[in-house]
Symmetry: C2
Subunit: 424 residues, 2 copies
Amino acid sequence: MNATSQTLASSNVTPTSIRVDGARLWQSLMDLAQIGATPKGGVRRLALTDLDRQGRDLVVGWLRDAGASTEIDGAGNVFAVRRGRDDAAPVVLTGSHVDTQPSGGKFDGNYGVLAGLEVLRTLNDAGVVTTKPVGVAIWTNEEGTRFIPTMGGSGAFARVFTLDYLLAQRDIDGISFGEALHSIGYAGSTPVGELAVDAYFEAHIEQGPILEREDRVIGVVTGALGQRWYDCIWTGQDAHAGPTPMEARHDALRGASRMVEAVNAIALRHAPDGRATVGFMQVKPNSRNVIPGQVTMSIDVRHPDDEALARMDRELREASSVIARELRLECELRQVVEFPASHFNVDCVNSVQSAVEMLGLSSRKIVSGAAHDAVYLSRVAPTSMIFVPCKDGISHNEIEDARPEHLEAGANVLLHAMLARAGV
Amino acid sequence: MNATSQTLASSNVTPTSIRVDGARLWQSLMDLAQIGATPKGGVRRLALTDLDRQGRDLVVGWLRDAGASTEIDGAGNVFAVRRGRDDAAPVVLTGSHVDTQPSGGKFDGNYGVLAGLEVLRTLNDAGVVTTKPVGVAIWTNEEGTRFIPTMGGSGAFARVFTLDYLLAQRDIDGISFGEALHSIGYAGSTPVGELAVDAYFEAHIEQGPILEREDRVIGVVTGALGQRWYDCIWTGQDAHAGPTPMEARHDALRGASRMVEAVNAIALRHAPDGRATVGFMQVKPNSRNVIPGQVTMSIDVRHPDDEALARMDRELREASSVIARELRLECELRQVVEFPASHFNVDCVNSVQSAVEMLGLSSRKIVSGAAHDAVYLSRVAPTSMIFVPCKDGISHNEIEDARPEHLEAGANVLLHAMLARAGV
């Protein structure tokens, strides 16, 4: 606690009247985006690289300058905590990540961390002393592009997998997560998962088009879609494209192509909440004049209701059988990942909703289509999220963009949701 | 002409009674297949590699042992000619190639060359002196896997492209065709395309399932399918698979998948002669949880009638427009290769048919679905081909297989078609 806040703590500042400094938040975002900046205006700052270290060092410096005491756990997660009146109380936590996609943007993850920093700075400026401590987390390797799994730091924190499992993961050059973490100086000594969290709030760009399309400033996030990921392998018979009559073919790409249409049809049958995507396809031998003998494709199916997700699973299996039989192919459909649907804590969702109303912002309830660190945090602490619009719904892309006034509004909602929870 | 043939030339051998030695032909095929043999029983002997040199050296040695005089042209094509009574007459030529696919078989190409060798050996054994010279060609780089274009040697011979163009092609390591040809010692001095060819016959495995399915021993090849090759590029918008509602997507893979079905439907509308294949597909960014923003696919369309091929072209363009409009995508459909349909010479086809009937073999007329050196030769000389069945119609594969009695029958047809043309 610094001198300024001690002075103002006893003044008559009404916490509901305080607001973040949108210009300062924007400047911090732009400054951080310089580290790993790409020519097209994006950011490439992969987890546990030297650029990640530079980004973390910058943000940790800012958090310390804001009077927070920082500690680092064995997974490299950083916790910057601003003391409260009751320092033994669990922390009202916010945060996100500062690693990016290989061709990522300035806002995904970074916004959640720097909105948290802006909350601390704003509390300092206003001299507010909260009852419970408030803190900002930087979770390690959310994107999962250099090391799998995604959301590695928050997953270890929530004991979804062990720290040993996480540290043993290797990148394509054979370097382990543990080695890389050590080399950037972020292998901390705090035990993983032991911080007592009163509640967790995460601000994030929507990464979808809904808020922008409906002209709402805030998405009050009530949960996250359940997800099932599959590998789907079609096997036919390679054959020469010229001499092989159509009726004699066993063309694996025809099976895969019909399955793409079936996957989309299943999602549309479960509209508007169901989603299904084929993002990856590999054709063998992938030669212009050879009928494909094998095609491997991914299927990603999402729904906010686990029972509906199970129905989509059955429909996928039925579709693959019918297509395989009709086209005389083999089809192997193998589920490789399952995230149950997340339902965020009602009190936390209400805290966000109340802040939105107090601030007079347009909003809608929304379910996160993507997974976030908050999804894992919700397993061990009351959690909610705050979404703001991003341009054209685009993220994981260098052209990812968001408007300063929306980022400012989201940070104000974060501030007041945390304040309501932390007490003054 | 050797002593044996001189003696027997004046004897009363009836040429119609002579037959090839099927066991000797089979043994030559098996011996040649040792060079570049793969563990799965196939052959990997890419054009202009040292293995290609070893294969050529072995076969050229056999041809010289059979009394043929050999010359090599500037494209590396080998011509082994057995003298006739009228040595000034154009050569009755056969041949094929000894280069293979990367995972190729023992018979594709090799059979046509060694059937030609077996014809020379049989003529020698029977002491037959033909009126016109007969010869065997080894065409360079038919497969086109290390260097494009395919059918490079025969294409240069037929003046489809210039020798300079051919020699300037480079492999992925930057080595030119000319350098590679020189390094294996097959850069000959004979001018390309100057050999006078009376007629060209090529024996080949069918590379399709028709003969086997109909239990015929010989395919009397009347021509080759016309071909059009296309690149088809679908452009939508990358987006995150989770947060992007189905109705907001511009999924390039949906366009490509519908196009795969359209391509197949177009071929079926032009059954039984029309064929169309998508063999290659590349998805971008090809990530499990990203809606594909761009998909590039190949389309290979074939038909024995050029007007039907033009109709298939129009149907492709129409289908791509409809799909692009419905799915709100961009589609670029670009033709990259066109081979008009080939119609082989009626006299040459009749020579093959007569030989089949004289030998009492089951047969059917057939149109080659694949291109062969014979397709280029047919532009500069009267040409036909002889097909024999291959197991399950499979080629360009290590498991390519053919039955000794079929290979023998095909060589006998070749022998008598050439004899009829060369005269005794």
